[in-house]
Symmetry: C2
Subunit: 226 residues, 2 copies
């Protein structure tokens, strides 16, 4: 039983790994769509979301079968339940990257961002690209140290998110109302991407360490500015 | 075993029922906070979110124990896995209601809404109050018909959400930039509440009918306007 469980769990872990790599690709593509008005990158993110969704379905299917046939307990059970939640988190991150890509495609060839907002969004994108790299590393190595770095760093994204609103309210702002709407929503999507990364990181810390399942991190983080 | 499973599952279902009733209360309170500038209602929603979060933790704990001890299969397993996801959905709905309440509290005694936006938000609130009532009924009776009504009706909320953006872009708009930011975010929160209700309804349809677990509804709905 033990050998079968490990083999089947390895297959699930491989799918989860594939999922997080696709999410990284989506975040990178959404950034190029948004900041470089790269409409092909936007389309690739939108099309690619289907594969992320399919991977989640496959992971749910495998986990449910594992639960039924192998009746895992203790740590094994914690890993399976956490895997289900990680897959849901990554699926949502794929949606958010898609929303950003859709906004870029809709306004193409114009940018949805007013000029003065671009620098802040570029900083948010750099942050998310680094976070996505960290997520891939964290999953590949089940590395709690990398996970803790993701959790610790999230304040920076929240601060950038707050700054976009400050900018929009300031006299510096030259954008149209449409750009204001887009900036508010896009900044929110990016902040939510960071929140989900934190949520995933908390779950990895939970898998690696040995907390009580009832203390499982169950909440998405909420940014300070909403 | 069967009797114990049913008894323990009943306890989980009672907690889930409590959770959805608390979510209904939160949606109702958030609406009063937003539309009537009722700061006490806002505070009650913010404080009440802790109980919603605690119920989710308790449900996770009970489900993990059930999976370990009872090794449910087939329909029973589907119900347990779906319960975990319903609890996550309700937890998120509590967060969104809290965000609305926080926005109302922050701008108190002013409204975060400009006058011309109030009618649309009032319509969205009526829609969400009715949806919340339907959610309670759907959970209490595991009623797929009510669930299907929630799924079918969601277009109306999406249309109202789109109208808030149309209004903000029109010449009718008299609000400040701060109100524009608030209206965009609040409308998004309300639309997401509707999406999560649809997601919960899909899961109830899935529990009541007998689909393959791999076809489980795994995605949050995304509104048309983002």
């Amino acid at each position: 039983m033990r050998v079968i469980f490990n083999e089947e769990m390895k297959a699930v872990a491989d799918d989860l790994d594939r999922m997080v790599r696709n999410v990284r690709k989506a975040i990178d593509g959404a950034g190029r769509a948004l900041l470089d008005s790269d409409v092909e990158a936007a389309q690739a993110v939108i099309d690619g979301d289907i594969e992320i969704d399919a991977l989640e379905s496959s992971i749910i299917d495998q986990c449910v079968k594992l639960l039924a046939k192998q009746n895992p307990v203790a740590t094994d059970l914690r890993v399976v339940v956490s895997t289900l939640r990680l897959a849901a988190t990554f699926e949502r991150m794929g949606d958010l990257a898609r929303h950003i890509a859709e906004a870029a495609r809709r306004s193409y060839p114009e940018s949805p961002l007013s000029d003065e907002a671009k620098d802040l969004f570029s900083q948010m994108q750099d942050f998310l690209d680094e976070t996505a790299d960290n997520m891939v590393a964290m999953l590949a190595d089940r590395d709690a140290k990398v996970a803790e770095r993701i959790i610790r760093n999230d304040d920076k994204l929240d601060a950038l998110h707050a700054k976009t609103f400050d900018l929009a309210l300031s006299d510096e702002w030259t954008g149209s109302k449409q750009q204001l709407i887009d900036v508010v929503l896009l900044s929110r999507f990016m902040e939510r991407l960071g929140d989900h990364a934190v949520s995933a990181a908390r779950r990895v810390v939970f898998i690696v360490s040995g907390f009580d399942p009832s203390k499982e991190p169950s909440r998405d983080e909420d940014g300070a500015v909403e």
